[in-house]
């Protein structure tokens, strides 16, 4: 599928003639379609492409097709810069999407600002500029939210724990993950928890056991990890191999649903903002059927983030109307409300000052060994985004 994805991207680049662009909404994405972190971003780009293809097949928006141009930056800032320049100057995109590491943000945003084109972070982490007071040109549809995720997770631990909480943290040695675990470390004592350790684990690590040994020896009965999936799950697996019996909470990245089923660990919880496919919503059925028809490589449960980005793009372009311009699009996005049909706990609502969302909703899942299925442990809990 990735071959097709990149082939489609290449074809789109070659065929995106100026004349055609004038008759279509042209949008461009720079993303980590290859490279070490591609497992997080490539499925989202694939889902977005699928969503746009379906939209075009249904007649597009206001009778105009969407011309989606995908560019691979391999999570390298230099390539992301070149992609942004090309998409903005050559393809004249209305909207620039980023699905890559945060290290690519600065050059992409700088190029977009020069061109006056809005940037949508879709599956990449939301930068602080989308939170109130938001930058007029930066928007984010991605599920995870720094500080709010930790608040939700710590609140869940507090209400779930049956004995005094001795908590350990596991972060990847990248700025965002470390900052989030630092934040959680500061918050935990205020909730009556004792912080016993924090492991900042470099990527990549051949053996997670030395880090897990420290957390176990520190006496943690809960461990919270907010990091790329590989760090979260390998720390857990290393802890379990050391015969650690505590509870483990991690962020529900796109891999979470498949991994809960693989690990079958009843004391492993994932906190997330996207509804898992086990909830069997009509929209899940729609995604599954679309993915099956398109013969996507990635598991369907990894497509939610990209699908939501597609919903946001559709809503934004509908609100912009035709003819479209980056200015009109940015104005439309500043007051956008997107119904995610249950994929999130509520709509993605942007205001002039808040380009993240006005309310963030969380659900908690784990594996139910008795039923042999994923179990929803806690239903949507809302947090107002100030």
């Amino acid at each position: 599928m990735l071959l097709r994805l990149q082939g489609a991207a290449m074809a789109a680049v070659l065929l995106a003639a100026p004349a055609a662009a004038q008759d279509a909404y042209t949008i461009g994405l720079t993303g980590a379609l290859t490279g070490p972190p591609a497992s997080t971003y490539a499925p989202a780009a694939d889902a977005l492409r699928l969503y746009v293809e379906r939209l075009n097949a249904a007649g597009g928006i206001a009778g105009k097709k969407i011309n989606l141009i995908l560019q691979d930056d391999a999570a390298e800032p230099g390539k992301a810069t070149a992609n942004a320049k090309k998409l903005l100057a050559q393809d004249n995109v209305l909207l620039l999407l980023n699905a890559s590491l945060s290290s690519t943000f600065a050059p992409v945003v700088a190029e977009a600002k020069r061109a006056g084109v809005p940037v949508l972070f879709a599956s990449s982490v939301c930068p602080k500029e989308v939170y109130p007071p938001a930058d007029p040109l930066q928007f984010c549809s991605t599920a995870f939210a720094s500080t709010y995720d930790s608040r939700a997770t710590l609140a869940f631990i507090k209400e779930t724990a049956k004995e005094p909480v001795k908590i350990g943290f596991s972060a990847m040695a990248i700025p965002l993950s470390r900052a989030e675990m630092d934040f959680a470390e500061q918050q935990a004592p205020g909730l009556g928890m004792t912080v016993v350790g924090k492991e900042v684990i470099p990527p990549p690590t051949p053996d997670y056991t030395p880090f897990a040994t420290k957390l176990k020896d520190a006496g943690a009965n809960w461990v919270f990890s907010w990091a790329p999936w590989v760090t979260q799950v390998r720390t857990l697996e290393a802890l379990r191999r050391l015969d650690w019996k505590g509870d483990y909470v991690a962020w529900a990245h796109i891999e979470a649903e498949g991994e809960l089923a693989r690990l079958k660990d009843g004391a492993f919880y994932v906190v997330g903002a996207n509804a898992l496919f086990q909830d069997r919503l009509p929209i899940h059925q729609e995604i599954a059927e679309a993915a099956k028809t398109a013969k996507l490589t990635y598991p369907i449960e990894q497509l939610t983030e990209g699908w939501i980005a597609g919903m946001v793009v559709e809503a934004a372009l509908k609100a912009t109307g035709w003819p479209a311009s980056p200015e009109k699009l940015a104005a439309a996005m500043s007051t956008l409300k997107v119904d995610t049909k249950g994929l999130r706990g509520g709509p993605i609502e942007w205001t002039k000052d808040n380009h993240f969302r006005t309310r963030q909703y969380y659900r908690v899942y784990r594996w139910d060994s008795g039923k042999g299925a994923i179990q929803r442990v806690k239903d949507w809990t809302a947090f107002d985004v100030q």
Binding site: M1, L2, L3, Q6, L33, T34, G35, P36, P37, A38, S39, Y41, A42, P43, A173, E199, V200, I201, P202, P203, P204, T205, P206, D207, Y208, T209, P210, F211, T213, K214, D217, W229, V230, R234, E237, R240, R241, L242, D243, E255, R262, T297, Y298, P299, Q302
Partner: protein, 290 residues
């Protein structure tokens, strides 16, 4: 006790990977900077053979290792053979390009998502209790045993085997070896095959232990300082270097700061290179020639 087990496991990982660097360098004076990617490719090959031999784990693993032997030979025959006798730098740069190519190819063929070859093979990874309350995972334990077996076999092969002696001869003086009738291309192809095989063993066992993704290529590079510390042309040095780097890493993770694990291999490397630029057990003469 767990600390000691952690050191042994990390030593085994680094040593099994590092011996691949040493084998090629010792014979052909080429630094194979695609070793990490070849290791990763072998692990992905296991994913492929696992789908071919579903439920037959031994057959799948054996097929993946066999394929890695072929891949190693093909890399030499189709890519590096023409560079024999040219500047070593050209060959090194070729391996860099090969690494980039392999990273792209693996994503295209197997996608970027995390993979777990143990799942289709129906293999578990239970923990084994050791004396002193320590524990080790099954695959980590097998990795330690495999590393010991690989080193013992390589020592025996290079000391006692006919082809091993030819490899040593080609490494020491290729011109003289060729004049004595040794087929240098066959020797170099064999070195690449064996190097890729040892890397494949590491890649396959790591993938069975903790899964497989694009970051595995970088794990291959993490063993490089261990090979340099021990001396790039010394197998015993690779073992010693791995033990030193792994010990320093695990002890500092446990007693000082986990973040040091990223820099400590290079700190050890700098210290060793300042004292013995050719590595702890490397040959001074050989390095001077480079």
């Amino acid at each position: 006790m767990q600390l000691a087990v952690n050191i042994v496991v990390l030593t085994a990982i680094y040593a099994l990977i590092a011996c691949g660097y040493v084998l090629i360098y010792r014979v052909s004076r080429v630094l194979n900077l695609a070793h990490g990617e070849l290791l990763m490719l072998s692990a992905y090959l296991l994913l492929w053979t696992a789908s071919l031999f579903a439920g037959h784990a031994i057959a799948a693993i054996a097929a993946a290792l066999g394929l890695s032997l072929v891949v190693g030979a093909m890399v030499y025959l189709f890519l590096l053979r023409k560079l024999t006798g040219e500047m070593a730098l050209a060959a090194v740069l070729t391996t860099v390009a090969l690494g980039v190519l392999l990273r792209g190819v693996t994503v295209l063929l197997w996608s970027a998502q995390q993979q777990y070859p143990a799942v289709p093979l129906g293999l578990s990874n239970w923990a084994i209790a050791l004396p002193g309350g320590a524990r080790i995972s099954l695959w980590a334990g097998l990795l330690v045993v495999t590393t010991l077996a690989v080193y013992a076999s390589l020592f025996a092969f290079l000391r006692l085997g006919r082809w091993g002696m030819r490899m040593r001869a080609a490494g020491q003086n290729p011109l003289l070896a060729a004049q004595r009738g040794i087929n240098l291309h066959a020797i170099y192809a064999l070195a690449w095959s064996l190097s890729t095989l040892t890397g494949a063993l590491a890649g396959v066992l790591i993938a069975l232990d903790s899964g497989l993704g694009q970051t595995m290529a970088i794990i291959g590079l993490k063993a490089f300082p261990a090979a340099l510390v021990g001396g790039l042309d010394s197998l015993a040095g690779a073992l010693l270097g791995s033990a030193i780097v792994a010990s320093a890493e695990v002890i500092l993770i446990h007693h000082v700061d986990p973040l040091l694990s990223e820099v400590i291999p290079f700190l050890v490397l700098i210290v060793v290179l300042m004292l013995r630029p050719w590595g702890l057990l490397g040959t001074r003469e050989e390095l001077d020639r480079v």
